[in-house]
């Protein structure tokens, strides 16, 4: 096989599964180490560089990092990365003085439409470059769907205010209650060098069934959550049905409990393995007493005497093949009595305010054509990001879209081609301090995942704003931090130094190393010391070794980064080195953008 090119910036990055899986490539192991050292402010700043909203995301992130976490492969449960992030946000000191500052105006103006995470990230990245950023928001509060769709018992308003406030204070011109009703007019105004559309996916999907228009107790989920967030809706009937099992449905059912509902049922068309909601959101809803009913397809609203009294369902049975549905059968009909129905079956973006003659092309579903790398529409200078670009995703994706759009906008405004992107880079630095001394904590802690304490069930329903999760205690934080395997402390091999003594092979607790004759990949993996489980995990193959010409092979899958290979290596052919991935942002080279510790003293 071709020896692995470890010089490629992606090679060691891929080994850090959490960071690789995070859309914004947050340096997870680094901030977990800082938390373990009690350096909450530093941990927060490491987070903020990539994900901008650590306090918000530490509560409500969709956590793509956690299913990717190596700990979840080595044992059952991944590190509680998201909840550790919250610890850093909750316990940090005041950081405003350490955040990027706005630079002197560069004369360029950018309009951002919608004050959600994507637009705010664009503002965060462009203000330190001297751009004048105007954010137009149709509602009276900023935050977009983060505020209107995520209930306060999961994400308190103060957390939103604090992190959005930091960006506004940097100098963003936030215009509340200022809906953009015509993009044409905004562009004709001529005052903006670039426009970023971050207006989200604000339209909830309808369920057209008989009786839909005969009652005012049938609500669209995201509109209903919005009305709760703004205080317009404060009550709900005793019996509430939620249609759909996505994360919005989970927020709806839990909100209903807090507005006085006695029985709340989530009605699912399919069985559990097809649910869209995150496992932990389902768990939280069920622990509050929400019943999740499977295999019920809604058929008609039952209206009696002008009043909604129930919902008629077909009870289905599915035929499965390899986990896929290949057929369905109606078993019977069932009427579920109810007082309110909440429809939470999806949402989409809607652009009635974008004229179709502006050179911005839309596809047949009325979704704008957006470049997935530059986030530019078919009209140069108009960019899309967040849910507005590719439909509903989640906050961390919106943040990354914002970062990429900011890079594009900065290039566009300087007349540079937006398709040329700044490259990723990687750096390695040894962690060896001396004989048997490594500057990282490499002892494997077999502790299972910690559970975040919650407010007691009896307490939490009293007010809708009571935050349910309390956050980790100091003891939990210490243990959970200890569960991180330090995947960024890489095992770096130098073939010319190896004397093939087998010490590393013999000691490796998970048998991820093999010295064997070179061959093709398909044939070579059959000779590994322990069978390869995941073809998706990187395989490292060294250059031929000096004494026998064989090669060192490492299957990265289960490596726990304990450092025993390096510890047992007599010639330091193995070394433990910290890899740092440099993820480019728009304002990288600007002194105003750097943390005080990075700013050069003139």
């Amino acid at each position: 096989m071709q020896p692995t090119d470890t010089g490629h910036p992606d090679h060691y990055h891929r080994v850090v599964d959490c960071q690789w899986a995070c859309p914004a490539h947050t340096d997870v192991p680094e901030y977990i180490r800082l938390i373990a050292q009690g350096r909450f402010t530093d941990a927060y700043l490491v987070n903020r560089t990539s994900n901008v909203f650590p306090g918000i995301l530490g509560r409500v992130c969709d956590r793509p990092c956690e299913p990717a976490c190596r700990r979840g492969r080595v044992e059952e449960k991944p590190v509680a990365i998201c909840r550790l992030k919250r610890v850093a946000a909750d316990h940090r000191d005041e950081v405003r003085a350490q955040l990027p500052r706005a630079a002197a105006p560069n004369g360029r103006r950018v309009a951002c439409i919608g004050a959600g995470p994507a637009s705010l990230t664009v503002a965060n990245d462009l203000l330190p470059l001297g751009y004048a950023v105007t954010v137009f928001e149709q509602h009276g509060l900023s935050g977009g769907l983060m505020r209107t769709n995520i209930p306060a018992f999961r994400l308190p308003a103060e957390v939103l205010d604090e992190e959005i406030g930091a960006i506004v204070e940097m100098g963003a011109d936030l215009r509340l209650n200022s809906p953009v009703t015509s993009l044409k007019a905004l562009l004709a105004d001529g005052g903006y060098d670039a426009v970023f559309v971050g207006s989200g996916a604000p339209k909830g999907k309808e369920l057209r069934l008989p009786g839909r228009d005969d009652s005012d107790r049938i609500h669209i989920g995201i509109d209903w959550l919005h009305a709760i967030a703004f205080g317009h809706t404060q009550k709900v009937g005793e019996r509430v049905l939620i249609i759909g099992v996505g994360n919005t449905a989970m927020d709806c059912c839990r909100s209903a409990l807090r507005l006085g509902a006695r029985t709340v049922k989530v009605m699912a068309r399919k069985s559990r393995q097809f649910f869209k909601a995150s496992e932990w959101e389902l768990e939280d809803a069920e622990s509050e007493g929400v019943e999740i009913v499977v295999n019920h397809a809604p058929k008609a609203f039952v209206i009696e005497g002008g009043r909604l009294t129930g919902l008629r369902f077909d009870v289905l049975e599915y035929e499965l093949e390899d986990g896929r549905i290949v057929g369905e059968r109606v078993l019977r009909e069932h009427v579920e009595p109810c007082d309110d129905v909440i429809l939470a079956i999806g949402q989409e973006n809607a652009f009635p305010w974008i004229e179709r003659d502006l050179g911005i092309e839309f596809d047949k579903w009325q979704v704008p054509k957006v470049d997935p790398v530059t986030f530019q529409s078919t009209r140069p200078g108009v960019f899309f990001g967040g849910d507005a670009a590719f439909g509903p995703k989640n906050i961390i994706w919106a943040v990354e879209h914002g970062h990429q759009a900011a890079i594009s906008i900065h290039r566009h405004c300087r007349g540079l081609p937006v398709a040329e992107r700044p490259a990723h880079a990687a750096a390695l630095a040894s962690r060896k301090m001396g004989l048997h001394e490594w500057s990282y904590h490499n002892e494997y802690n077999p502790a299972p995942r910690r559970l975040v304490p919650h407010v007691a069930l009896g307490e939490r329903f009293k007010k809708i704003k009571i935050e349910v999760e309390l956050g980790f205690t100091p003891e939990q934080t210490a243990l959970e931090g200890d569960r991180c395997l330090n995947c960024d402390i890489q095992t770096v091999f130098s073939a010319p130094l190896c004397i093939e003594c087998d010490a590393c092979i013999d000691i490796c607790p998970v048998d991820c190393l093999t010295i064997t004759a070179d061959g093709t990949e398909a044939e070579l993996v059959g000779r590994l010391k322990a069978p390869r489980r995941l073809a998706t995990e990187p395989l490292y193959v060294s250059a031929p070794l000096k004494q026998t010409g064989r090669v060192m092979v490492k299957d990265e899958d289960l490596c726990v980064h304990c450092g025993l290979c390096a510890e047992r290596c007599p010639t330091a052919a193995w070394d433990m080195q910290k890899s740092t991935v440099k993820i480019p942002h728009a304002c990288d080279d600007e002194p105003t953008c750097q943390l005080p510790s990075q700013r050069q003293t003139a």
């Binding site: 001394e437 048998d511 450092g563 025993l564």
Partner: protein, 352 residues
């Protein structure tokens, strides 16, 4: 020496043996030898061999003397019986233990100092008595524990780390064992587990004394240029004469070789060792020819490795020769073990 504790986790797909145990369950304490020591590789090979034989840990008795090599018995099969004897005296302990209980599998691990200097007389008599055991010599040519002086197995002309050449001729444990009539004599290298593991398994299953001389480089005091027992030198001057495959009782012989290329030796317990001659002119059953072959190859600067000599050892084995009891003494009722003063009186009367 290592300060990091080996995590108590394992690859989930590790194969299990007939007892349902993984290789990891045959490990012992963490080694405190130098990083890169050949002995640690021998330890790993013994772990692999015991696992492959599906040996119950309590079936194993591990014995050692003094030296770096003799520390290694602590590093494998922590559930086994063990005895760490005084310097060079492991063979006597092994002989005694073996006489008292023939049901255990005895593995002695020693070094070139422990076996070829202070313990040479003991080793010689264990071979002569044909004690049923596997005797592994981890041979590195130096006294590592006392900072690298030449040992009795250092070759003429080999250089110490300070640059002095050795002038005294070595004791070759393989030639010694052949001379004393051992019925299982092998040589291998710590860096070649493919060869070493089947040899260890065959040695444990051999009825009689089985000696394996394992070239096991001292990474700290004897791995430099000019040494004849370094990793690099051993790899260059390594001459495998006979390849041995160990085939456990239940397994079938998978590949058939043409007549004359391979011979199968059946061990006492029904397992088999298939020998493949890599040198067509070599006959491992001929002790005299083996001796001659090794001497000639050594003169050419090569270490002959593989299963050098094997013969049926059961007839002359310690228990057969001394007609000992088949029941381990710990299971013989006390009244029979110690029949009392009256019985002693009767016995004494026979000599009057």
């Amino acid at each position: 020496m290592t300060s990091i504790v080996k995590p108590r986790i394992a690859h989930p797909a590790l194969p299990k043996n007939e007892l349902g145990l993984t290789r990891r369950q045959y490990e012992g304490a963490m080694s405190t030898l130098c990083a890169g020591c050949g002995h640690d590789s021998v330890t790993a090979a013994i772990v692999e061999a015991c696992w492959g034989l599906s040996l119950r840990p309590e079936q194993l008795a591990k014995l050692s003397g003094i030296g770096c090599s003799s520390k290694t018995t602590a590093y494998f099969v922590s559930g086994a019986h063990g005895f760490n004897a005084v310097h060079g005296r492991m063979p006597s302990i092994a002989t005694g233990a073996n006489a008292a209980n023939r049901e255990l599998c005895y593995v002695g691990v020693s070094g070139d100092g422990d076996s070829l200097s202070i313990g040479l007389g003991q080793l010689a008599h264990a071979i002569r008595r044909n004690v049923n055991m596997l005797y592994v010599i981890e041979n590195n040519g130096v006294y590592g524990l006392t900072k690298g002086q030449f040992s009795a197995s250092a070759d003429v002309g080999t250089k110490s780390k300070r640059g002095e050449a050795n002038t005294q001729p070595p004791v070759d444990p393989v030639l010694l064992a052949l001379t004393l009539g051992a019925t299982f004599v092998a040589r291998s290298f710590s860096g070649d587990k493919r060869q070493l593991v089947p040899l260890l398994q065959a040695g444990m299953r051999h009825q009689g004394f089985a000696l394996i001389d394992v070239l096991s480089p001292c990474v700290t005091f004897n791995d430099h240029e000019g040494s004849t027992k370094s990793y690099a030198f051993t790899r260059e001057h390594y001459h495998a004469a006979v390849e041995a495959d160990f085939i456990a009782r239940a397994r079938e012989i998978a590949v058939d070789y043409a007549e004359g290329e391979s011979t199968v030796v059946t061990m006492h317990d029904g397992s088999r060792v298939r020998l493949r001659k890599l040198d067509p002119g070599y006959d491992p059953s001929d002790r005299v020819a083996a001796y001659d072959y090794i001497e000639r190859k050594f003169a050419d600067g090569e270490y002959v490795t593989g299963l050098i000599h094997v013969a049926d050892g059961s007839a002359s084995e310690l228990h057969a020769a001394n007609r000992t009891t088949a029941t381990p003494l710990n299971r013989v009722p006390y009244e029979r073990l110690s029949p009392g003063a009256a019985a002693l009186g009767k016995l004494m009367a026979r000599y009057r």
